[in-house]
Symmetry: none
Subunit: 307 residues, 5 copies
């Protein structure tokens, strides 16, 4: 596979990183079906920890098995597979080198939702290196009263990761007492969350598809004054991408709750048309039977290749 | 004793661990009456710290003596003996090499129950190495407002233990403001607690036998939608095992409060029939006179050998 | 590209390594024209330091440029490119992710040949990580009065590299007061040098093609007593491979001084027929005009694919 | 297997060691056919590095394979298997827990015999821990001009090993400009070498069977004055054992060069009758076909059991 | 002052360096009369240590004063001023920010010329940071029996300097038992010395103007076979530049012993015409009265601007 101009262009947006970090970033961009296109589809499986095992895996029981997700990501031709320590430990030695891995370094359970949202740090950069990962992953909750704890943990981990030649993927999910339920996916809030992740040094940013809603009164004034379009998903995605260093950071979008294939592909087209770099699709893939999941992921990749 | 295929299979579930960690894991699997079967019966004695000496040892006064428990575990043919620092320090030099040891690295007293449940770290990996232990032990309380403190302590200790070739045994006991009293042994909560321990990197997970009760509304929907059976203990144990990486983590069950031998053996049969890997039995053994305790433990091992 | 059974088999020979080290090893085995075959052709360019710039690069002046060698290795479809710090620094940021890199951590100049052969340590594991390398390289001179210095430096670097998930490539070149000039490529000495590298923990071993000559009297007795065949190159390569943990270490052969393409391909066939894992070809490639070099390297790969 | 009084007695000779070190010591004493007898038969395979691969393995070609020796030691029921880093790395992950391992931390090649005998340090305590070893091994050459280098390296390694709960096995082989060829196995010199190892803190001492020859004039006077018997092998072994803290250190004897089974068993009987603790038998085992080697090792164990 | 394309091109040759290192490099390239041209004239004053104070400063007594050299470099419009710790310490606080500084981290005195040439390390990266320097300086003596010591010191210092965002300037002066007196400035040896510095990671390389002489027989063959021109100084400079990564490293030339202005300017023209990046001129400047020195340095800069 020849190294494409598009990947070189993307790498040029990170001129302060050492070659090690760029190498791992290019590894994810150059793996799987979308290799070289500058687009990414990542399989994330942290729901066992975040939502509990039955809610996550019972819809498709083979998914209880850690090997299952490695194989699914490989068979579907994903760019990378992201999971917490335990899931990677359980299978990394067996699938060594078969697919780029992202170790999610913090996780939040839904057994004890006490106080402001704050994840526990459940892995280290050293673990990521030992397990052969190509990146670290980390979740921040802008809007949480505990946001600064997470911002500070993140920047220390990003710095340590870079020293080890590892880029970072940041899940930036507004949540907590400072945002309304609708506000969590408001276009102004999502764009702001993406900007925060970018300013903290994220190489890849993961946000939820923004809805046509504006949470913050101050933001509302600006959207109105400058007539920033927010009607269609492509409009809103475009704003989020622009808010991520004018499109110079890789921003990918999560699929959220399980839904129908048709609906998913429609949403993915919107993401693509707005200039999104890809999708990160967990429940919508591993909660389907494997052949359906592989088909769906391939269809999603087809959409991204379509442009 | 020949190395069995079953033990090799179990070790193959930990492909990212170094040979040192696998060696100590196999040491516990290959010791005592159940050696080579892939089943384990462990004697844990942390009740002196957790419940106080009289509540723990007065029912069988010789148990006040640290030597007593080493000898009990040896005579009964247990796979390992687990205790806090003081108890191991008191006798490890005398019984060196006679039985695999697990140093419990945190403990919670019941003198001061203040705030959310949180154990104190009472030992170190270095202590475990110095005392010749084959594993570290650690308790987490999913459901506690202080859970993240314990999750983060645990992951650092697991990482340090692995560097020293030591596997980890995690007591995962839901407790705290986020779970009801019944919820502590609800089948959904126990399964979730096992999943959390596995994702944090535990090699062996200890939970309580789950009851036929579902705590979380979101979980209830899933149990109903997919008709997950929870009537019998084997049904529930089976769900917990599945929730522990599809059976690819060693899960053992505690006996809980002291009760009659009949009742215990019945419960153990249920654990065995659901695919449980063994029992960890404290009060039900050391609070009986020694010969009765040895007999009971041997009977329990007999049940596990029976399948 | 599907992950092949052959690569999985090779990785299985390193069961004590962490997934990180296996991942980088598989990266080299899965890159370029020979990806997945279990064979390797590596471009090494340390001659600027070892022999001086004019002797190395004047035959093909574009080779004075560090970018040239990256591009040559990429265009020829090599598995990896190996060079000292300066050459990698000069271009790694530009070619990040395009080809697996091996940082040679020690080098010997030919300006000052004083005392027993001993290379200077010219790079670190941290450099290799920072530059995004997939392995460290190191030269030992068995037969040198200073061999123990190199053996000890090597084992420390291998240990540090493994912690960072990096495998090691060891150039094992007998040299020094204890071996005659002919002895440097004697079949017994080359096989012994390969064994030493393997015992020190090398993942990939590089030796010179052995000649039909036996240096050590004690070895001669054994070769005669057991009629070990040494007439043909395949015979001798076979003995070297067997001496490298019965073929369970990757052993590749250098091309040595510049010579004609015909002669090179003949030698490569011998290496292949004896079970050699590949070639590392410096002067014979970069001292030719680029198109000739690419053709030769592809022909060499063709030979290895032929079996 | 019950813990024997004899093993407890042996452990009582090391009252200053922590329980971790005693545990690993008892592990070796309690493994294999001789478990619990206080006797040991160890398989050592460092000859690939020390004598070269062909001299070592060609007599029985399957021995080129690192797996071979693990399996041989297991099948023969040895107490432990000792080898350099490379051989252990190659198979420890595969045979984890099946047999106690001793990592030989230094090695000497016979390609370059330059200067006074001095081995290179080729492994670390950290490696031993990572690979799950039960002891470190180290060779000293009393009589070498470089002896102090080795003595000092050894004491640092023993101290570090003890911190990690690992006992030490010391090969004490008089060699170098200060001893004659015959003197290397002279009874006074062997006894002195054993004493030095014991004084440096060795837990297990390996020496060669002493010959009826006295090297040092000063020693000769004493042997004569006090009529120390040296005629028979039992006499001489008894003197060496006495010289090792009055029998309170485990002393085992090497078999040396390959020879006939009859001859070996005769020698082993002499070692047993003199109070030797066991044999360490490399070439005499792995250079035979496997079934013959297993038979011989079992016969040797039979001899030791006979007393 | 606009940032020139030429400076950007030069910085592009160091794609693996962090922005800090590039920033300090550009600082030197963008200071003084030659700012932005890609050419450099540096004032070095280490002769007080290297040759003694009277030999160095008596010809122009104000030069005994450390302030003198700062002011000279400033008044003459040099790109940077290089000196050992003491000279910089004495005045850096006073002239803070007025001119880029290079701290020479090793120095060799001429009181005790004992053994193979080897400089003492007389400063640290930490000193360079504390004193506000823009680079570290270091001297290596290729050809010395002690060369490996210096090569290893240098690579560690370069690595540490880069971490602190400091580039390195390497004085590469062949010297020692392996080169003849004439050989020290032989064109093949100077080119080789430049290559070694580049491979060790130097950002700026300082060599002596090469003479029309070839030292090494192996090199002579190459120069003759490929008719490498060496008659004129531009020819020889061109070869040295090519030998420094095909012109992708900054190579500057020293003036050597004091001589007439005419002679100096003639030599500088040769350096310029061969593609040299500049001059480093110590004795020829500070041993003249200040106004003459300023004039000479300005004339030298005029020559470099002329092309």
């Amino acid at each position: 596979m020849a190294f494409t101009e598009r990947v070189k262009q993307i790498l040029s947006w990170y001129p302060s990183d050492n070659p090690g970090t760029l190498t791992h970033l290019s590894r994810m961009l150059n793996h799987g079906t979308l290799a070289g296109t500058g687009k990414m589809v990542i399989l994330p499986v942290d729901q066992g920890f975040e939502h509990g095992p039955h809610r996550s895996f019972q819809p498709n029981p083979p998914a209880y098995d850690p090997d299952y997700h490695f194989q699914l990501a490989i068979d579907a031709g994903c760019n990378a597979y992201a999971a917490p320590l335990g899931f990677l430990e359980a299978s990394a030695g067996k699938f060594a080198g078969e697919i780029p891995l992202i170790l999610k370094l913090n996780n939040s359970d839904s057994l004890a939702k006490v106080g402001e949202p704050l994840s526990a740090v459940t892995g280290s950069v050293k673990d990521a290196v030992r397990l052969g990962c190509s990146a670290i992953g980390f979740t921040i909750y802008p809007g949480s009263g505990a946001r600064n704890v997470m911002f500070e943990e993140l920047r220390e981990l990003i710095a340590e990761a870079k020293e080890h030649g590892l880029p970072s993927v940041v899940w930036s999910y507004p949540r907590g007492s400072a945002v309304s339920k609708d506000g969590e996916t408001a276009v102004d809030v999502v764009a702001y969350a993406a900007q925060i992740a970018a300013q903290l040094g994220a190489h890849i940013i993961k946000v939820k598809p923004p809805k046509d809603f504006i949470e913050q009164p101050e933001a509302k004034k600006v959207f109105e004054k400058y007539s920033i379009p927010t009607k269609t998903l492509p409009d809103r995605v475009r704003h989020v991408i622009q808010s991520s260093f004018n499109g110079k950071r890789i921003v990918i979008f999560s699929g959220g709750e399980a839904k129908g294939s048709e609906e998913i592909l429609e949403e993915v087209k919107g993401i693509r048309d707005g200039g999104g770099f890809g999708s990160i699709m967990g429940r919508n893939s591993f909660q389907r039977p494997k052949d359906e999941a592989v088909k769906l992921l391939k269809d999603v990749m087809g959409v991204f290749k379509g442009k």
